[in-house]
Symmetry: C2
Subunit: 188 residues, 2 copies
């Protein structure tokens, strides 16, 4: 299912294609997943779990992660920096059209992004406490802006991978963070 979604998107997701990829019958598959929507919902849950189970950045494990280090690690963790994360991002982007037309999936997506902004806001609040960011930095808006920046970079990198190789994506994140650190002084 993952492979079908990553290559053909939601438009190409059919029970038959997934069954063929698995070497199973369509009948067996429909026993577990009665519809394309059920397949997609499962794919999104798998992505959520993979993301939760992923090893945390070394700095965090060592208890040395400061606020800004975690902001940076969280942003980089989202980006399509390698083939696997490009495939995951491809599936997230594929899910947006379906989710926007489906109240339950839309609510789940809105909730996912809200939680991600809250986690980001926590890192930003910590960065302010640590003196890495000016105290006047607006916590929630900076979190929403950082998440916007990284989601839009995902879209552009998926459409133009040659213009947005991993090094450039990382450099853009670092330029972005340098501005957050500097620009906030106006608000102090």
């Amino acid at each position: 299912m993952w492979r079908v979604l990553a290559v053909h998107g939601f438009g190409g997701l059919t029970l038959r294609a997934v069954a063929a990829e698995m070497g199973a019958t369509t009948g067996l598959l429909t026993h577990y997943f009665p519809s394309k929507r059920a397949l997609l919902k499962h794919a999104l849950e798998v992505l959520d779990r993979r993301s939760a189970d992923r090893p945390r950045p070394a700095a965090e494990r060592a208890g040395e992660a400061s606020g800004l280090v975690m902001v940076r690690a969280t942003l980089l963790d989202i980006l399509p920096l390698d083939a696997e994360s490009a495939a995951s991002n491809r599936i997230w982007v594929a899910s947006w059209d379906v989710a926007l037309a489906d109240p339950e999936l839309a609510r789940e997506h809105a909730e996912r992004y809200r939680r991600a902004r809250e986690r980001m806001a926590g890192h930003i609040a910590q960065a302010k406490e640590l003196g890495e960011l000016p105290l006047g930095t607006p916590t929630d808006d900076t979190a929403a802006a950082a998440q916007s920046f990284v989601l839009g970079l995902v879209v552009q990198a998926l459409f133009a991978p040659r213009e947005f190789p991993a090094e450039r994506q990382i450099a853009l994140v670092d330029e972005y963070l340098a501005r957050v650190g500097d620009g906030g002084t106006a608000g102090e």
Copy 2:
């Protein structure tokens, strides 16, 4: 077609639904649009034309538009600040899944976003000439970052319209631009 796409997304776009919305027969519609893909391609061309035909910001018409004023106007022009622009954005987001699985549509999208970044880079270069931005501001990266920021904000605002009313979207753009203006000093 526009109404079907804006409400039901690409997943809900059927020739039958569009024919019903038009009060036409499916046969008449298939005469012009043999497939869902042809319908979507036409919708994207209509969006491109609407965008090109849209009245330019008053400052630009008056020849008073400076670089940063145009950067701001361009960013605001993309955002879902009212029902019409939310519907257009809904269609763009709906198109991403199909386009990523379709080489021709993918190339057209990549080209659209490349041109948009180039226009943005032109405004940023002008802002540097006018002394509105530090000369050390990286033109292309700042354009790519601004476009990333606004595309990601579109996605978040579509999923969480109550958390991202027009006023907050505008405030986020203004905070973003304040940082671009301030943060660049490090590069001078």
